[in-house]
């Protein structure tokens, strides 16, 4: 009875015929000995067919099916084409060896080809895997590795849901280009001014804006041809009739030399270049804004796109920015001052790139440092949400922005800001409202959850009251997020199940870690924050529930 072998590779499917080995004595030892030597193995197994994959997409599909143990149509066609026909009723005189029984049973179900998957087959497949390159003449060495690399990457990217649109490299490159462009456009504009001023010096003093100057230079061309009838167009360009008249007057009494037509053409072309670059810079700016809203919407809505993009590019990537602590984010961009201060034991800088956001400017001098720290904290939260959340909502960014505004007000006027827990709950609520279009379902669902928590809090008020509070102090934000995330879990049954265990686990570890830190926190603060006790109880109970469930596992 002939034994065929199905061997799947990154380049395609292959079929081998194993012979020379007695079927009754399916001796794995014998196979092992023969495997190491190519000549001997070549007698044991011969290549009968090879089907290369048509495209990278096809290869990915096949790989996914093979990993699930499912036979695809292409595999089926390949097998039916190259194996002897299976006639119904008659005993089948061959068998197909496969690496895994699941795919074997599927093949048998559909095509009635008997499959086997035992140690004997495994040994043979080991031999095939070792010597595969020699069997296929067309495959040069390294081809198979390239195929594996490509297929491995696409398979893994599909697994981690690698979204091409959310690549932060674009933003980093765009912001670099923006800076370079600014410098270049400025140098070129200066050059145009110098050059054209040889012909018409007064214009440089009348028109200050670079872009307008270039436009004018292109339009006016030869100043001797400038006359009153060009006035309406001049006004259009300049937007100001008086200026236009000034220009015309200056042109008549100008001290500049005349230029030949060729020279004028050159200046014109250059002026055109400057205008094009200026317009390109505008478009790039818009592109950057769009990209920032794609990959980091919360960060963009909190501190603005440009500052956000600078932060991302300085950290290296959005993930790096999310990983670094908020104190680092606060002084990103002021490293020289930071390390100088650390070396000389002076005062470290209070803000780095963050300084360019509007909030710091609006704070009074005394509070700039405090606002910088607060803003850096919120930016950290926003960047982490952006990096690790799947949905692209800007709700959190806006809520965080409101919080920063409130804090600014607090410093200015003493208006007490809202509690962080409330803001975050509202944010999560509205984030979910956006997700599910069923708004009415949300409201009743939220209240029972809250009620159940309040009941628990009343019963647990006595025990561990103080301890829980102190633990919660440093963890208020984290627990609030955990809090809401547990609510999310109850509602989002259908959606993104795989995310939840990861979220659950990370929240659990967060809770445990901060517990250990919080245990040593100061206990003095509990007395001053009595009104927080209730809300913190709610939060602590969710944590306790989760801790209990973790200990049960």
């Amino acid at each position: 009875m002939a034994l065929y072998l199905l061997y799947e590779t990154s380049s395609g499917y292959s079929l081998f015929l194993a012979n020379g080995l007695d079927e009754i004595g399916q001796n794995t030892e014998a196979v092992r000995n023969s495997v190491s030597d190519l000549n001997r193995f070549g007698k044991v197994a011969q290549l009968t067919a090879f089907l290369p994959f048509e495209s990278a997409l096809d290869a990915l599909n096949q790989c996914n099916s093979v990993s699930e143990g499912i036979m695809t149509d292409e595999l089926r066609n390949f097998l039916e084409l190259n194996l002897p026909k299976v006639k119904g009723g008659k005993k089948v005189k061959f068998s197909l060896g496969v690496a895994e029984p699941k795919i074997g049973s599927h093949i048998f179900e559909v095509t009635k080809i008997p499959c086997q998957s035992n140690e004997f087959v495994h040994e043979l497949l080991r031999g095939v895997r070792l010597h595969f390159e020699r069997f296929i003449k067309d495959l040069k060495s390294g081809d198979l590795e390239k195929a594996q690399l490509g297929l491995g990457h696409s398979y893994s990217r599909a697994k981690v849901k690698f979204n091409v649109n959310r690549v932060d490299n674009m933003v980093i490159q765009a912001i670099f280009l923006l800076d370079t462009l600014d410098k270049d456009v400025n140098s070129f504009a200066m050059r145009v001014r110098e050059w054209y001023s040889w012909h018409f010096p007064e214009l440089a003093k009348i028109v200050n804006d670079n872009y307008l100057y270039a436009k004018l230079a292109k339009f006016i061309d030869d100043k001797s041809k400038l006359s009153e009838d060009k006035l309406p167009e001049l006004t259009d360009i300049l937007g100001d009739e008086d200026k236009a008249k000034e220009v015309v007057e200056a042109a008549k009494a100008s001290m500049g030399q005349d230029l030949s037509p060729i020279d004028l053409i050159n200046v014109q072309q250059f002026a055109q270049r400057v205008m094009d670059l200026s317009e390109y810079r505008k478009k790039l700016h818009e592109y950057l804004i769009t990209k920032m809203n794609d990959i980091a919407p919360n960060l963009a809505s909190l501190i603005g796109e440009i500052v956000g993009a600078r932060l991302i590019s300085h950290a290296g990537s959005l993930t790096n920015l999310a990983k670094c602590p908020s104190s680092t984010l606060q002084i990103l961009g002021a490293e020289k001052a930071l390390f100088r201060a650390l070396k000389t034991r002076g005062n470290t800088p209070k803000y780095g790139l963050i300084f360019h956001s509007s909030f710091i400017g609006r704070a009074s001098a005394r509070n700039k440092g405090r606002m910088a720290r607060y803003l850096a904290n919120k930016c950290s939260i926003a960047s982490r949400i952006d990096c690790f959340s799947e949905s692209g909502t800007t709700v959190f960014g806006e809520k965080l922005r409101e919080q920063v505004e409130e804090r600014l007000d607090f410093y200015d006027k003493g208006v007490a800001p809202r509690k962080n827990i409330d803001v975050m709950k509202a944010a999560i609520g509205s984030a979910e409202n956006k997700d599910t279009a069923m708004e009415t379902e949300e409201a009743p669902a939220v209240t029972p959850a809250k009620k159940s928590k309040k009941k628990k809090s009343k019963s647990d008020t006595a025990e561990n009251g103080e301890a829980e509070d102190t633990e919660d102090k440093p963890v208020v934000n984290g627990v609030a997020a955990e809090d809401a995330k547990s609510e999310k879990k109850k509602k989002k049954e259908k959606r993104k199940l795989e995310q939840e265990p990861a979220v659950e686990k990370s929240n659990g570890t967060n809770g445990v870690d901060t517990d250990e830190q919080g245990g040593t926190a100061k206990k003095k603060k509990t007395k001053s924050k009595d009104q927080d006790r209730k809300e913190l109880q709610d939060a602590s109970d969710m944590k306790k529930k989760r801790k209990k469930s973790k200990s049960e596992e």
Binding site: V35, R129, H153, S156, D179, H314, F339, E498
Partner: protein, 336 residues
């Protein structure tokens, strides 16, 4: 032994940055010269010397030095300078000149300056995978070679090398299957060692770490990321060829079985394996020594023959590293 070290330093007295005498060459002749100086004391002694050189400072100091060096984790991109010397090019402390000498293991190097560090030659110069320090040296023909510092506290393989393991079997041109790749910090060093002629198949199940792994693999063409459960090698059998070495750092209670399954699929006859055992994860009630012994027994049952074991006590608690071979052919008794 410390005198021996001083002697080495004396030889490389001209410890300038453009030290043509040393530099990142690692060629055969050069290694011979070094080994002659060391070999005189024997292989074992060489291992001990390494430990003395590092142990003298104690684990804590070494760790602190690396943390200080990590700075802000920026990748050397800056707008208009202002880099405060945090990610200094030379040596462990910013601004220090370092001398690179090859390690006993091929593809691994040692950077000698005020402190010693294990380094590998970076395949992607200018890039830090996990904010490790990088050392740039210029060799004779003026080309700049960059080396990345290998932190033994973060990498079990690095720790095993520092503890003086005899043979890691991961050499330039090798094909390695790395189970438990996590975010790719150790994988990057393995990829540096095997070089462009070798291949590293990095298997990691977790999605978060997998994302970092895929990002790291984008820059290194010899790393193939596989986000799949190592318990089921049949699922990724299409992506992997036959390998020479399996490195396993999965920290699962059934890791011996996982290693055996993967070896049955992918490890060549006469291939080798390097397994990192975390005693707490196998059985937290037994003492570590007993756990290691039981793991070794389990390995033997599956044709995985252990050759040596080192405990990584200086770097991790209750961890050990076992190296062995697979399906060693029985030595035929020569007929008299």
């Amino acid at each position: 032994m410390s005198r021996g070290l001083a002697a080495d330093h004396g030889r490389g007295a001209s410890r300038t940055h453009n030290n043509a005498g040393r530099g990142g060459r690692g060629g055969g002749a050069f290694r011979a010269q070094n080994n002659a100086g060391r070999g005189g004391r024997g292989g074992g002694a060489f291992r001990a010397q390494n430990i003395a050189g590092r142990g003298g400072r104690g684990g804590g100091a070494f760790r602190a030095q690396n943390i200080a060096g990590r700075g802000l984790g920026v990748r050397g991109r800056g707008r208009g300078g202002g880099r405060g010397g945090a990610n200094g090019r030379g040596g462990m402390r910013g601004g220090n000149k370092a001398v690179i000498i090859p390690h006993r293991h091929e593809g691994v190097f040692i950077a000698k300056s005020k402190d010693d560090a294990l380094v590998t030659k970076s395949m992607v110069p200018g890039d830090s995978v996990y904010n490790e320090k990088r050392i740039s040296v210029q060799n004779e023909d003026g080309a700049k070679v960059e080396y990345r510092v290998w932190n033994p506290f973060r990498s079990k393989l690095g720790a095993a090398i520092q503890e003086g393991i005899d043979n890691i079997w991961i050499a330039p041109g090798a094909r390695v299957l790395y189970l438990g790749a996590a975010s790719g910090t150790s994988v990057s060093h393995v990829s540096d060692i095997v070089g462009p002629t070798g291949v590293v198949y990095a298997v990691e199940f977790s999605q978060r770490s997998g994302r970092d792994l895929v990002n790291m693999a984008k820059k290194r063409a010899n790393v193939i990321p596989i986000i799949e459960d190592a318990r089921h090698p049949s699922k990724y059998r299409m992506l992997v060829g036959m390998v020479d070495v399996i490195f396993s750092d999965v920290a699962q209670p059934d890791q011996a079985r996982i290693l055996a399954l993967n070896a049955a699929y992918f490890l060549k006859t006469g291939g080798h394996f390097v397994l990192s055992i975390k005693a707490n994860c196998i059985d937290s009630t037994l003492p570590a020594g007993k756990v290691y012994d039981s793991e070794v027994d389990r390995l033997r049952a599956d044709l995985l023959k252990p050759a040596e074991m080192v405990t990584l006590d200086r770097f991790e608690r209750d961890h050990a590293c076992v190296v062995g071979s697979y399906r060693v052919p029985k030595k035929q008794k020569t007929a008299a």
